[in-house]
Symmetry: C2
Subunit: 293 residues, 2 copies
């Protein structure tokens, strides 16, 4: 769920709590407290701290996604899944442990353990599938975020700021554009409040943010390339949000969880960023390492 | 399905075709025709030929697994999945295209495309999950087989022979032991014909095969290590077989497909080998590259 979900229509959010404005206030309070810490961590903190925070948040998001699978009626070995996720994240941070070996572990242990569990066989295929999807989706996407900071030397912090600012500013602009000019529903079946006008406003917001970033602290990202990346990230963020909405509708839940006051679940907060992170990673990588077949 | 499925009980296979002995004969004919070609390909052919054959077989196996998901009632974008599988396999064979980028593509495109498809949302979570599981399971496991041949210099061919012979000989010994001494069911719910006695016979068969391999063409694989690997591979092959059986039961199908005469589906033929390949890959890798955290 993004704030843009509210844009384009006047009725309240279906999942808004009774206190209304109080919720909004709580939400802004949490953000206000977290923002300076986050900015320091990205720009000046050690890379391992950002990695640790991301892995912590991703673990909760993974748990929420696994719980969605359970809500859908599939028995899921959640603790085992979390353990394999930890091993996968370790492989992303340990040069001598190839990521492929951790992926092998996920792909063999989850289905193998399911065979020897007491759970019904009827849900064996979708149950193992949801567990494997959840581990690898949250694992690889949050690893893209972490490695964005680590793999590209001095550009790492700037890339993280670029990612967060283009996605979040785009999101905010989408919200206000949708609220004021929203008419054409984007994908009403999945996310009834999103409008095409909001999407366009969001992309414009991301483009302006990218330009501002280029001219202030990130001249190393050529303007044209930065604008193209921003448009891609803006749309990716929206798709990531839609994907999570579709999964939630499929599982019949409204919020992915409720750990942060007023913020819905961790997965709700991370969905756009998780989906956009590998896009920026691949973009930056391919910009500097052309592929020769 | 392995031949060991027949061991331990006297009633005919529930999925045996009416012709009975004719089926068995057809099966042996196909094997007889394929064996010399396979041996030449592994031992003397160029590595790309073995890779091409494996990718071809794995593609059919993937298609069968996707079809199982459809049988289970989940709409699946099969052609898109096959395209992403091809891209994933390309990344395993192209040093300048990181595998992580192909995994990102799978994890973003399958869920993203599902959101914009016309399929019902109810199956969005399990549908995308089965598609992603199928691509990555068949993709990473067959890549382990291919890279086993490529990554370890002159040992590559020998490792492939070691894998195939220990798994297949173990399988054959499990069949005969189970048929003659089988009493205790192993996991009757998943695979009613497998017995503990068959499993033990299979492990012994794999151990003898490994010793024979060590003393004939593969002295570079130390005897103790080869025996330990053989026991691991034997059990892995059985688990791989059980995993596929569980998935088939979950989807309500008997054979994964029917492309090779008398042999069931490709996935039925490849299940043990696919599951054991990453085990041998990880084993050999870790034997030569200790992990330092």
């Amino acid at each position: 769920v993004s704030v843009a979900e509210n844009g384009g229509r006047t009725e309240p959010r279906p999942d808004a709590s009774p206190q209304g404005g109080g919720l909004r206030f709580k939400r802004e309070l949490t953000s206000l407290a977290a923002a300076p810490l986050l900015i320091w961590t990205i720009g000046w903190g050690p890379p391992w701290l950002l990695a640790a925070l991301m892995i912590l948040g991703a673990s909760v998001a993974l748990w929420e996604l696994l719980a969605m699978g359970e809500r859908k009626g599939f028995p899921i070995q959640k603790v085992l899944s979390l353990g394999l996720f930890a091993f996968l994240m370790l492989s992303f941070l340990t040069p001598t442990l190839p990521v492929a070996l951790a992926v092998f572990a996920v792909l063999l242990v989850i289905p193998g353990a399911r065979v020897f569990s007491r759970s019904d066989l009827d849900s064996a295929l979708p149950g193992t599938a949801v567990s494997v999807l959840a581990i690898l989706y949250v694992g690889f996407l949050s690893a893209a975020f972490i490695r964005l900071r680590i793999d590209f030397d001095t550009d790492g912090s700037r890339l993280i700021f670029f990612l967060l600012l283009t996605v979040w500013m785009g999101d905010a602009m989408a919200y206000y554009t949708g609220k004021n000019f929203g008419k054409t529903p984007l994908l009403p079946r999945v996310s009834p409040k999103k409008t095409v006008e909001g999407l366009i406003g969001g992309v414009v917001g991301s483009l302006l943010t990218a330009a501002a970033i280029h001219f202030t602290f990130f001249p190393q990202f050529p303007l044209g390339a930065a604008l193209a990346a921003a448009a891609l990230l803006s749309v990716s963020g929206v798709v990531g949000d839609l994907v999570e909405s579709a999964w939630k509708r499929s599982a019949g839940v409204k919020d992915s969880g409720s750990l942060i006051p007023g913020h819905g679940g961790f997965l709700d907060r991370l969905d756009s960023i998780l989906f956009a992170a590998p896009v920026l990673y691949a973009y930056w990588y391919l910009l500097h390492n052309p592929i020769r077949l």
